[in-house]
């Protein structure tokens, strides 16, 4: 399958690509002169065109770049981030039961996987991490919590994530970290950005 170009208003395109290709596509497109800003999604890349860029011409060029990026694996372990986790989450026992594992097995399966941030959203610095052990795939909680503390390490819908701020949330909480995920005055502000490799280290 090739990339599909979807119209997104007069100044943007949405490129739909195969699962796993969004990050490589985003990386390839970011180098194009016609591009002002790129927002990776789960299987799409939103491209804001540069002012004055010809829309149709840019679209053709984006498709070429996306085709060249198909199947390319973006792998830059040099930027790996280690997150120290205390596995004391409120949902740890419930997750173990739902996945038919012991809590020790949930912890080892969660912390032995190597994750990559696919895209961000929800709040600044909230990264959707791919690479979760399939044995830990669960849909979101039936009833979201109104308050999930900042630093909560969680799983849902095939992803893992760390809540950067205290917020409402519907993911299953496995533990917590003291790492600061987002700080506007820091450079870079987000500890985990699309493409970042992440390891969870139990403590």
């Amino acid at each position: 399958m090739t990339a599909r170009l979807l119209p997104y208003g007069p100044a943007a395109w949405l490129l739909e690509v195969d699962v796993g290709d969004a990050l490589a596509t985003a990386t390839a497109l970011a180098r194009s002169e016609a591009v002002n800003e790129i927002v990776p999604g789960a299987r799409t890349v939103l491209v804001h065109l540069a002012p004055g860029a010809d829309r149709e011409e840019s679209g053709r060029r984006l498709l070429q770049l996306a085709a060249a990026a198909q199947g390319v694996v973006v792998d830059d372990p040099s930027d790996a981030v280690e997150i120290a986790v205390t596995y004391d989450g409120e949902d740890l026992a419930a997750v173990a039961e739902a996945c038919r594992l012991t809590t020790a097995e949930v912890i080892s399966r969660h912390s032995e996987a190597i994750y990559r941030a696919a895209f961000c959203g929800f709040v600044p610095g909230f990264a959707y991490l791919t690479g979760l052990d399939p044995a830990l795939e669960l849909s979101r909680r039936a009833s979201p919590r109104t308050r999930v503390p900042a630093g909560s390490v969680a799983i849902a819908a095939g992803y893992s994530a760390v809540y950067p701020t205290t917020s409402p949330g519907g993911w299953h909480l496995l533990g917590h970290t003291d790492a600061v995920l987002f700080e506007a005055d820091r450079d870079p502000p987000a500890l985990i950005a699309p493409g970042t490799t992440v390891h969870f280290v139990p403590r």
């Binding site: 119209p7 927002v39 999604g41 909230f126």
Partner: protein, 273 residues
């Protein structure tokens, strides 16, 4: 240095400039004034660069001058000199939802990620405003005030231009037709994040959860209940509901300024050969 002190913080009052576009990939909303044309005009009236930081409010904001200063209100559209101790109330213009006040020199609060805008979705930017707070006014721009009264910006009584897509195939074949033929009513659910519209539900044919994808300002997102939401400046950077169409950037301010209960019509752009 002169300042404006907040006497009464009013409703949904924030500092806004041109926003902080460029950080969406790490989840930071663009923010910025909802009505950019009015922000630009008021800044011109006081001789500022058009993107200087202004105050945006849904009404009943009262400010007291600390030292002499020059302001321009969206309800007056002319510069006004304020003496030390003088109080002014800022409200939207008669038919608008959002009112603005610019001051010569701009509001000089610290910038965060290149912008003084307060993001109401995630709290990035200056902290929430409170009565008693003094907002410092920046250095006089030195430029002359060349316009001292203005006709105001286009009120946009005409239909709002929308561009079809990206997720047309998630909707019934007549959904786009329904979008542009319905007289929508602006619901009470309006904020800097988005505007929910009431009308006959738009029918989806794909009922799955959409894998999260990037959102643009003006995107018309349609959740499972079929009631469209137009995304505004503080929108989340990615979302899981399909977008049927996108409001033209020049028309987003028209949608944002519509009061709850008022009507709204959409049209597709006229194509020129």
């Amino acid at each position: 240095m002169s300042a404006l002190e907040i006497v009464d913080v009013g409703w949904s009052t924030t500092i806004q400039d041109a926003g902080r576009a460029g950080h969406a990939a790490i989840g930071v909303p663009p923010s910025g004034a909802l009505d950019e044309a009015t922000r630009d005009l008021l800044n011109r009236l006081v001789g500022n660069p058009s993107d200087a930081a202004v105050l945006e409010t849904a009404g009943r904001l009262r400010l007291r001058a600390v030292g002499a200063c020059t302001v321009a209100l969206s309800s007056e559209l002319a510069p006004r000199a304020m003496n030390d101790g003088e109080v002014v109330q800022v409200d939207p213009a008669t038919i608008d939802l959002w009112g603005y006040v610019a001051t010569r020199g701009g509001f000089d609060v610290p910038a965060v990620l290149g912008s003084r805008s307060q993001d109401t979705l995630s709290g990035v930017g200056p902290p929430a405003l409170a009565a008693g707070q003094r907002l410092p006014i920046g250095r006089d721009p030195g430029t002359p005030v060349v316009v001292d009264q203005a006709a105001g910006v286009e009120r946009g009584s005409r239909a709002v231009t929308v561009w079809p897509g990206p997720r047309l195939d998630w909707f019934a074949a007549d959904a786009m037709q329904q979008l542009v033929t319905t007289e929508w009513t602006v619901s009470a659910d309006v904020s800097r994040v988005g505007v929910r519209l009431d009308g006959p539900p738009l029918r989806r044919v794909v009922h799955d959860e959409l894998p999260s994808e990037g959102l643009v300002t003006g995107a018309i997102q349609v959740p499972a209940d079929g009631r469209p939401v137009v995304m505004l400046a503080d929108h989340p950077t990615t979302g899981g509901y399909p977008v049927l169409a996108v409001v033209d950037p020049a028309c987003v301010r028209v949608v944002a300024q519509r009061r709850p209960g008022s009507s709204l019509r959409f049209r597709v752009p006229t194509l020129h050969a």
